[in-house]
Amino acid sequence: MSNSQDPVWRFLLPSFVFVGVFSLYPILESFRLSLYRMILTLPWLGQKFVGWDNYRDLITDPVALGSLSTSMIFVAVTTPIEVLLGLAMALVLNESFRGRGWLRAIVLIPWAVPTVVSSQMWRFIFNDRYGLFNYLLYGDATQLYWAPLAEPGLALLSIMVADIWKTSAFAALIILAGLQGIPGELYEAASIDGASAWRKFRHITLPLVKPALLLALLFRTIDALKVFDLVFVMTQGGPADTTNLLQFYGYKKSFAEGMIGYGSAIAVVVFLLSFALSVFYIRLLGTGLLRKGRQT
C-alpha cells in the first residue's frame, strides 16, 4: 500500500508553503524588524539596527502603556460578560420548546454580521443627535443627549457593548455543545433524589460544563486581543487615546505613521501576550480536550 508515486509530502507541501511563507516567516520577521528603525513606505532610506531601543521607547511611551492597560481592561470586562451571557443563552437553547430552532438561528445572526457593519450600526445607535441610545435614555429632551463615542470612558464602554452584542453567540455555541454532552440520566437520577433545579445546576451542570466555559473564555480572550474593526470605525482610538486597543495602536504606528520598527515591537508584545494567555488557558483546560478524537 505504500505508494511511491505519491509520497506523503506532496499532500502536505502546499499547506507547508503557505504556513511557512505567510505565517511563520512573518512572525520571525516581526521579531527582526522590531530591532530596526525604518519607515515602511520609504524602504530606500535604509534600515538602521537599533537593538532594544524600540522596546525601551515602548515602556516609556505613555500612549503605548495606556493602550496596553486599555486592552487589559477590555479583555477583563468583555470576556466574563460574554461567557456568562453565552451560558445563559446556551441554558435556554438547551431546553426543548417551540421555536427553539428559530431562536438558535437568530442568535447566530450577530456572529454572521460583518464586524465593520456592526461597528457602523453601533456608531449610528450611539449618535449624539439622533441615536436610538439617546432617545431610549432621554426621549425628546435632546439637550440632555450624550456623545458616548466622544467621551473618554464612555467610548470604550460603547465599543465593549458592540463587541458583547456580536460575540456572545459564539460563546453560547461552544457552551451549548458542552451542555449537550451531559448525559440526561444524571438529571433524572437527581430528580428522583428530589434535588432542586438550583442544586442540579450547581452540582451537575456547572462542573460538567466547566471545560466548555474555559474553552469559550480562551477563544473570547484571544479574539478580544484582536479587536480592530470596532475601534477603526467607531472611534479611531480616540477620544484622547482612550480606546487605543493594542491591535489598533500597532496598525497606527506601522501603517498610518509608517514606523514599522516600532510597530513591530508592539506586534511582538501583542504576540507574546496572546501566546502567554493561550498557554495559561490550555494548561487550565488540560490537554485532554486537545487530544484528537481518534488516532488513526
Binding site: L12, R104, L173, L215, K226, D229, L289, R294
Partner: protein
Amino acid sequence: MKKFAFAASVAAIGTLTLLPFSWFVLTSWKSAAEIIAIPPVILPSFHWDNYRAAITRYGLLHYIGNSAIVALATTLVSLAIASLAAFALARFKLRWARYYLMLLLALSMFPQIAIAGPVWRLLNFLDWLNSYHGIVAAYISLTLPFAVWVLTTFFQELPYDIEEAALVDGCTRWQALRLVVLPLAAPGLFTAAILVFIHAWNEFFFALIILTYPALQTLPVGIALFPGEYTMPWGEIAAASTIATLPLVALTLIFQRRIVQGLSAGAVKG
C-alpha cells in the same frame, strides 16, 4: 410562573439580538429627514433612494464584485490545500501530525498585527499589493489553519474500509482522496466552505492594508471608509450594510445546523 420566566428570557434573547440590526435595516429605507427625526420614525416610508445612491454614487456593485471574487477564490484554494493536508494528517499515520495540528491551532490564535508588517513587505516585494492574488494569498494563510482542523476532524470520522479496499485494489492515495474520501466528506467540505467564505467576506484588517486602490477594495473596506465628513450618509451606509450582510444572514439561516457543527468541530475539538 416558571413558564413565564422562561418565555421572557426567550423573548429577551430574541429582542436584544435582533433589535439593533433590524433598526439599521429599517434605516436603509428611510429618507434623510426620517433618519434624524426625534422622536425616531419606526416604520420607514420604504423608499429605495439609499440603495440607488449606494449603487450609483458610491459604487456599491463594484465592492460587491470584489468581495465575491476574493471570498470565492479564497474558499476554493484554501479548501483544496486544506483537503490535501487534512487527508495526509487524518490517514497517513504520521507521528508528528499532532504537532503540526497544534502549530496550526497556535497560528490561528495569533493576532493579525503580529504578521501584518512582514506580510505587507512581502507582498510589496512581490508587487502583489493591490491585487486579487495578493489579498487571496493573505486570506488563505488566515483561513488554512481552521480549514485543516475542521477537515481533519471530518476525515477522521469517515469509515476507513472503503478507502482501504480501494488502496488494496491498486488505487493511488491521490485517487483514494479524489474518488473515495472527498465524495464521502462532501458535507464536511461544504461546512468548511461556508465558514471560510464568511470569514473572507467579513475580513477587514488585511483588506485595509493590502487594498488601497478603491477599484479593488472589498465591501468591508468600502463600508468602513464611507466618505462623509460632517454629515454621515447614514441611509446609504445602512443600505450598503444591509446588502453586505444579506447573503451571510441567508447562509446562516439556511445552513444553521452545519455552521454550528463546523464551529464546534473547529473549536471544541481544537
